[in-house]
């Protein structure tokens, strides 16, 4: 644990010290880039850039308990986020989502310590709020005026909302069969929405072409460095919620993979900060739909990257990602954590969604429900044992998907 007081209340605080960010680092070659300039991904390797912090200084100046007493929300961790000027911390109240015990489902499954982190209480109803709050804040800080994003749905709504809040112009490319709620909320917030005949992969291709042609900044998953930083705060909150002793297993629905990678990044940072009570790390489980399971296929083949998944299909629109730009980092996270990857059917997803609502009163997104379906598989395989602390991640609200339900 850190020994000093909170940086925000410390006597030596300067505006520079509002963040301990140092630089961006290529996830492949390790080359450094400035956070004070606009960057997308490594131009040499075409790989994601990761924000790195002076965690030695942070350990000296930050105190985990002092942070816990700050006003709730993602920005209470601001020194571990990349934004320099606090005026650019765009917020709609994201973060500090509930960590709930699931006693009824746990009893049904013979598990004594089953939990769910419910990201549906974020602004715009999903975990996407975290990443887009951070990315839009950095876009504002770097003087960007126009942003563009390809999305399977929820990221579009979140981007539109935060762009509106920051006064930026938003352009969104999403599949034409995206849940209507996502289309409506994006347009309501003033974004220009283009419906694409295809999947998020085609939306990404079109958005990339448009971004290059028009000079708009592309906020595609992992093609800019800062959505990951907002998402990683889930990991800090999980550690805090479990009294700095991490759960044994984290089961995560994996589309683009920012959340899975972000939580693992947070755990590495927490370890360097000395804030964890034990050396034990969770086993990370990536869950995908049977109709679009590139990570599961690559994991089974012990591969270091994914093949593009042909003819991708699933009603869990957030899982309909044929290949993530950061597939190598997703897979290395699973391997490093001694985790696994599980594919589940749409039928199992919707059955689990109904069970979570009936047994625990939570109307979770299909992607979140996929984690329960995967857990059942893992129990059958005896990959988890009854007294382990198991955390399911629900990424959003089921209310966004009403037009996909019978």
């Amino acid at each position: 644990m850190g020994t000093g007081g909170s940086l925000r209340t410390g006597p030596a605080m300067t505006s520079y010290q509002s963040t301990f960010v140092l630089y961006l680092e290529c996830s492949d070659c390790g080359k450094h880039f400035s956070t004070r300039e606009i960057h997308t991904f490594c131009p040499d390797c075409q790989a994601a850039l990761l924000a790195r912090y002076d965690l030695v200084a942070a350990r000296e100046h930050l105190d985990r308990e002092a942070i816990s007493t700050r006003p709730r929300g993602m920005w209470r961790w601001s020194e571990l986020l990349p934004v320099q000027d606090p005026a650019n911390q765009i917020s709609l109240g994201e973060g500090d989502t509930p960590l709930l015990r699931l006693p009824s489902l746990g009893a049904d499954l013979g598990l004594s310590q089953l939990f769910l982190k419910d990201e549906s209480s974020n602004p715009t109803g999903s975990f996407k709020a975290r990443g887009l709050a951070s990315a839009i804040a950095m876009a504002k800080e770097l003087g960007i005026k126009k942003v563009i994003i390809p999305t399977a749905g929820n990221a579009g709504g979140a981007m539109a909302a935060y762009a509106a809040r920051a006064g930026l112009q938003a352009h969104i490319f999403m599949p034409k069969d995206t849940p209507r709620a996502n289309i409506t909320e994006s347009r309501m917030a003033g974004a220009e929405v283009v419906l694409v005949d295809g999947l998020i992969s085609e939306a990404a291709g079109m958005a990339g072409i448009k971004a290059r042609a028009e000079g708009w900044f592309d906020l595609s998953t992992f093609k800019e460095p800062y959505r990951l930083e907002g998402k990683k705060i889930m990991g800090y909150e999980i550690a805090q919620g479990f009294n700095w002793e991490l759960p044994d297993v984290i089961i995560y629905p994996t589309g683009g993979g920012t959340g899975l990678v972000g939580i693992w990044k947070a755990i590495a940072e927490l370890a360097e900060l000395g804030w964890l009570e034990t050396d034990k790390r969770p086993r990370m489980v990536a869950v995908q739909a049977e109709g679009c399971a590139p990570v599961i296929k690559a994991f089974q083949q012990k591969a270091s990257f994914c093949d593009f998944w042909m003819h991708a299909h699933t009603q869990a629109s957030g899982l309909r990602v044929p290949k993530s730009f950061a597939d190598r980092i997703i897979l290395s996270t699973i391997y490093e954590s001694s985790g696994t990857a599980v594919a589940v059917s749409d039928e199992a997803i919707f059955k689990s969604q109904h069970e979570i609502a009936c047994r625990e009163g939570l109307f979770v997104a299909p992607e979140g429900a996929a984690t329960l379906a995967a857990l059942k598989e893992l129990i059958q395989q005896k990959w988890v044992v009854p007294d382990e602390r198991i955390l399911l991640l629900n990424t959003g609200s089921g209310l966004k998907y009403l037009d996909h339900m019978g």
């Binding site: 492949d28 991904f41 040499d44 390797c45 075409q46 790989a47 694409v196 005949d197 295809g198 999947l199 992969s201 085609e202 990404a204 291709g205 079109m206 990339g208 072409i209 093609k223 270091s304 990257f305 093949d307 593009f308 042909m310 003819h311 044929p322 290949k323 730009f325 190598r328």
Partner: protein
């Protein structure tokens, strides 16, 4: 043992990226800047693998792949083809395999993945 990679790509930046990546591993890059030039080079040069951009200024990459696979030069029936696209149109990936490409990659091309994809067919000279 040959180590010649034919890259059919009209974008000079992408061509340069691929050239740097593959020459650093000891491959020799043959460069074609449009589809017809690519077909001609495939039929006349000693080529071990083809990197094929789908969006080309004359004939598209699908047509290039068809002509290569139907070439009178027997070797081209089984020369590995890696299709590369910006993936802006529905079904790009599926179509590229249907016309005879072996592997599909979408831009931006991660260099480590490119090395691995190429080396799966043609071991790196260094």
């Amino acid at each position: 043992m040959g180590k010649n990679i034919l890259c059919i790509e009209d974008n000079p930046d992408n061509m340069l990226l691929v050239q740097r990546a593959l020459e650093s591993r000891g491959y020799r890059l043959l460069k074609a800047r449009n589809g017809l030039e690519g077909v001609t080079m495939a039929e006349s040069e000693d080529v071990d693998l083809i990197l094929l951009d789908i969006n080309l200024p004359d004939i598209d990459g699908y047509e290039v792949a068809r002509r290569i696979r139907n070439s009178a030069r027997n070797k081209l029936a089984y020369t590995p083809i890696i299709a590369i696209t910006a993936n802006a149109l529905k079904g790009d990936a599926e179509k590229s395999l249907a016309v005879g490409c072996d592997v599909y990659m979408s831009k931006p091309i991660n260099i480590r993945e490119l090395w691995a994809r190429v080396e799966a067919f043609v071991p790196a000279p260094r």
